[in-house]
Point group: C2
């Protein structure tokens, strides 16, 4: 990676760094696993704990944090003949984190599993496999060596 930004400055190391900030919200394994379950369609407390294979206290803590951070929202709902319960739904902010998970899936499939991984993502319209890619506003696909990191106007 190149760019006008002098990496020696290290000025991004502070809390303005978007990576650093993002990691404030999802830095733990359990947070990622809870989000994974949310994307898979899990909505109920017990299911989060069971499917993410984390203990209930951890599930409760993580769900609370993710709700506080605005990635999930708690919603009352009632099935006929049942009492009112809560379910957890991804907000737009939470949904927008999906590329991170998708990139982890893709990388894990490619590098950590001999068979290319047990699952893949497909486009529901045509069944074609999905890839995470970097693309510039002009529509070009961007390879690893073709990107610059630049400061926004007024930031340096």
């Amino acid at each position: 990676m190149t760019g006008e930004l002098d990496p020696r400055a290290g000025w991004l190391a502070g809390d303005r760094c978007p990576i650093y900030r993002s990691l404030d919200v999802v830095s733990t394994r359990s947070a990622f696993l809870i989000l994974r379950e949310a994307f898979y369609g899990t909505t109920r407390f017990d299911d989060f704990a069971k499917r993410a294979r984390i203990s209930e206290p951890v599930a409760a803590a993580r769900l609370r944090e993710l709700v506080d951070a605005g990635l999930l929202e708690r919603e009352d709902y009632r099935e006929p003949g049942q009492r009112t319960r809560q379910r957890y739904k991804l907000t737009e902010k939470g949904t927008d984190l999906f590329p991170v998970l998708a990139a982890l899936i893709q990388w894990g499939n490619r590098w950590l599993d001999e068979d290319g991984g047990p699952i893949e993502l497909q486009h529901s319209q045509d069944g074609e496999p999905i890839e995470v890619e970097l693309r510039c506003a002009a529509g070009h696909r961007v390879g690893p060596g073709e990107l610059d990191l630049v400061a926004r106007r007024g930031e340096l």
Copy 2:
């Protein structure tokens, strides 16, 4: 997200899940920050510690783990008149993790910073801003509701 996969099965919860496996390699904040620095061009031990703002013992531990996992490689090098030193370089496996970092940058800029974030990624060829996107093999851009999670042949 929909798909043939019954989320209730929870069969992905184990260690075959690519997300889970990926998190084995990079689950800590310091690992992400070390990788961030590697992408920014950092190569030397001290610089990793300083720029990622982590202590030297943590830098040493993380660098060792990342080398063991095959994301970085250690290389001897010698500047004229200097003694032989080591530097850390991203391998292909490590480089291929960049979309994860890029997705975190994008999400952090969008949701955690009022001004859209201090930095952005640009295509070095034409200076256009870069986005992380999901695209299927047929070339369609894939939105949040348009993806299926499916098991690979022989996996279910």
